[in-house]
């Protein structure tokens, strides 16, 4: 007998352009003790489904059809007061962004007490002790001290643990985790997912894990439902989905999930796979970094973000810079692209030391066009008041010296090069999808023919199928234009697809460096091994013949 059953759920939203059907007839069941994974890309309706069953839809959303039943209670018609009792005590939710889910001005311990007392799990006298117990349950060390911490004092992973503690404080029977690890480091992701799954098993709960990462779902869920455009296209065991996907969309997702043994072309749907471009062998050095140090003035004395690193990038080579947040990879890339000044060290670019020109004067430097960057957050990196055409044209107008007419031709040419349909050039950033924005960002960066391109997690915010396309685009551009890349990422699997050489950073130091295949196959440093082990391992990994058969 299933704990939760969703029958033919339909949800629609009222928008400026009329009603939009976000969920169109979804039927799902969650049995007692089962972990169901809902996998889909952005806009597939996976989050809306869960919000609908918690009755937490935004004010313009409406359930237009279907039945929701939880342990015999009809969630669609039950009174709001009953619903309030159910939330937290019976069904509980972990949100995507742990920092946003916590009240920033209240101590985390008090926030847990609120939930406990709302559902009469604790009284005024024992609330503190119960809250500390809840913190200990999510394996927070030194729970007593953490009780009086504010969310901003805690790391992202710790915040997510608090949110889990909140969600589990009243022993709910069903846990809904909406992208519980998005934005967390890969080792933290593993720790958080392991914790969730352990706690669920320990307490005999059921769970729905909503994620865009098929590999993650495969590793942690008993059963997976794949959603697309508001419908469930396929449902089944993880192994079966990977080994023999029945729906074309599932196949596409399985293919696009980066995994050991896959090549960049094999991420694409089979009909789009062309022969991989032949890359010229890299020989002459282009960029050489010597003893780069960056020290910030922190509250408690100076903080060394980068501790004297040295490495080289050859002409036409693609180097991956891997590490978790705070390892100094973003600082390094900001210095190399000359947006920040190093404290000491040399940046030899074609033999000239770029560090000699201060960052504030580099905008007017003739070498500005030679080094460009693709930013991580595609939304944040575009001026919201400028159209895509304007944004791509900006470096051309300032750096190329082309006439207005020639610039327009060049923008059209760039749009074709990155596969952006020309009519989209006149849209504003908020009118473009994530993948389209990534293309505009790449077009802008290559507009002035740079020799060296820094790619700062250009696919981190993208759906896997879009990521596959963008990664292939980058490979093609590198072959066509002979640009050298520095690919900054936290994901070793993605880096391996694109890079010949990998640098692993931790705490401002390079811990391991070498050819991509060697670092992936036989890592020498324990930290590299830890990173590799933390990455979700899709079942396809167990059957290398599958990807080879493609």
């Amino acid at each position: 007998m299933s704990l939760l059953s969703i029958k033919d759920l339909k949800v629609s939203f009222k928008t400026r352009r009329g009603d939009v059907d976000a969920v169109r007839g979804v039927s799902l069941d969650v049995a007692k003790g089962e972990v169901l994974g809902i996998v889909g890309e952005s806009g597939s309706g996976k989050s809306v489904t869960s919000y609908a069953l918690m009755r937490l839809l935004e004010s313009n959303g409406r359930v237009t059809g279907g039945a929701l039943s939880y342990g015999g209670i009809d969630l669609g018609t039950v009174k709001e007061s009953v619903m309030r009792d159910l939330r937290g005590r019976e069904i509980s939710m972990i949100f995507q962004n742990p920092r946003a889910a916590l009240n920033p001005i209240r101590k985390v311990g008090h926030q847990i007490e609120d939930v406990l007392r709302r559902h009469s799990r604790a009284t005024r006298s024992n609330a503190r002790a119960e809250a500390i117990k809840a913190l200990e349950a999510v394996r927070i060390r030194n729970a007593e001290a953490r009780y009086s911490a504010y969310p901003f004092e805690l790391s992202g992973g710790m915040c997510q643990r608090i949110v889990i503690a909140l969600a589990l404080a009243c022993d709910p029977k069903l846990l809904i985790a909406d992208e519980p690890t998005t934005g967390l480091d890969i080792t933290t992701q593993k720790a958080v997912m392991d914790l969730i799954v352990d706690l669920i098993a320990e307490r005999g709960m059921s769970a729905i894990v909503i994620t865009h990462d098929l590999g993650l779902a495969a590793q942690y869920c008993d059963r997976i439902a794949v959603m697309k455009d508001g419908e469930v296209v396929e449902e089944g065991q993880a192994e079966r989905l990977f080994a023999a996907p029945r729906h074309a969309y599932t196949r596409k997702l399985v293919d696009a999930t980066p995994r050991a043994g896959a090549s960049v072309r094999s991420l694409l749907p089979s009909e789009l796979r062309t022969a991989a471009p032949v890359l010229a062998k890299a020989t002459a050095p282009l960029l050489e970094v010597r003893d780069l140090v960056k020290t910030y003035q922190g509250k408690s004395g100076p903080v060394q973000a980068v501790k004297g690193i040295s490495f080289a990038v050859k002409k036409g080579q693609s180097v991956g810079l891997v590490g978790e947040s705070g390892c100094g990879k973003s600082t390094t890339s900001a210095i190399l692209v000359r947006l920040a000044d190093p404290t000491s060290g040399e940046i030899l670019f074609n033999g000239e030391d770029l560090a000699k020109t201060p960052a504030k004067d580099f905008a007017r430097d003739p070498r500005r066009a030679r080094i460009q960057m693709v930013f991580q957050d595609a939304t944040d990196s575009f001026n919201p008041r400028h159209t895509a055409r304007h944004s791509i044209g900006e470096p051309l107008a300032r750096l190329s010296g082309l006439s207005r007419k020639k610039r327009q031709d060049r923008i059209d040419e760039l749009a074709d090069l990155v596969g952006l349909p020309r009519p989209l050039l006149d849209r504003f950033p908020h009118q473009l999808s994530g993948g389209q924005k990534a293309r505009v960002g790449i077009a802008r960066a290559i507009a002035v023919d740079p020799e060296f391109l820094i790619l700062d997690e250009p696919t981190a915010a993208l759906d896997v199928s879009i990521q596959a396309i963008v990664l292939n685009l980058l490979v093609d551009l590198r072959a066509k234009l002979g640009i050298s890349y520095l690919f900054v990422s936290h994901d070793l699997h993605v880096v391996r697809l694109l890079c010949d050489h990998v640098i692993v950073m931790r705490d401002g130091e390079i811990v391991e460096e070498g050819p991509a295949d060697r670092v992936m196959e036989a890592p020498t440093h324990p930290y590299t091994r830890e990173l590799l082990a933390a990455a979700p391992t899709p079942p396809a990994l167990a059957e290398p013949t599958f990807s080879a058969a493609e």
């Binding site: 928008t15 300032r398 849209r427 908020h430």
Partner: protein, 294 residues
Amino acid sequence: MSDLATASLPAKQPDGALAHAAYVLRSNPVTLLAFSMFAVLLVAAILGPALVPYDPMASNAAQALQPPSFDHWFGTDNLGRDVLSRVVVATRLDLVISVAAVALSFLIGSILGSIAGYWGGWIDSVLNRLFDTIMAFPLFVLAMGIVAALGNTVENIVYATAVINIPFYARLVRAEVNIRRDAGFAQAAKLAGNSDIRVLAVHIFPNALPPMMVQVSLNLGWAILNAAGLSFIGLGVRPPTAEWGIMVAEGANFIVSGEWWLAIFPGLALMFAVFTFNLLGDGLRDIVDPRQRT
């Protein structure tokens, strides 16, 4: 691939600024009302002297202190001047004073606030203390002091009103610029070869416009009140010029003797103008914000 799918849809959408303005007006009746009221004010300001039935300055002792009638809708004052004509003609002067004052404080406040927000450091501290100092005064008294010290002219009313408003703009711009100083698009603009000043002026500052518009429109109403207030206490505009503040001040003497129309009608005009500008704010913001276009 979904990006290709959406791309293949016809990219047909009304994207022009005019179409967007039309949408904002259509979707919000209050904004439409505010803009129509603003149009009435503009017509009165531009065409006022040509529209009014009587010469606003011509006195006629025989017709003094007539209550509202068919010939004189708003009645006549103690010198027999037509109150309706004077109220309509006064619109131009009041609007000019307030718009000029707000434009001046917008300009100076934007420049100072941008500098403080973008470069920070000691410039920021010095400017902030300066704004604190201005704001520490009772603003109307400060304006009175400035007009009294500089001389009793219309220009000085404009300067005084501008000075007391600068801190509000500067602080708003400072905050808006400060949060975008290290935004991705500002860095991208630097990579595109823009100098700091260009990044600030072309990329960051225009993004502060939507909240500024709300401030501007609230401020316009406030500036009109301020100018009228200064005239009311005898500073700035002098009789016999038609101006709402003076008319209320002169009319106030006659309220006790029962001639209420002298003060009420210019007062209502003042209220109408302030109300218009207060309503206008949100609509203006929606129009200058491209993110409102979908």
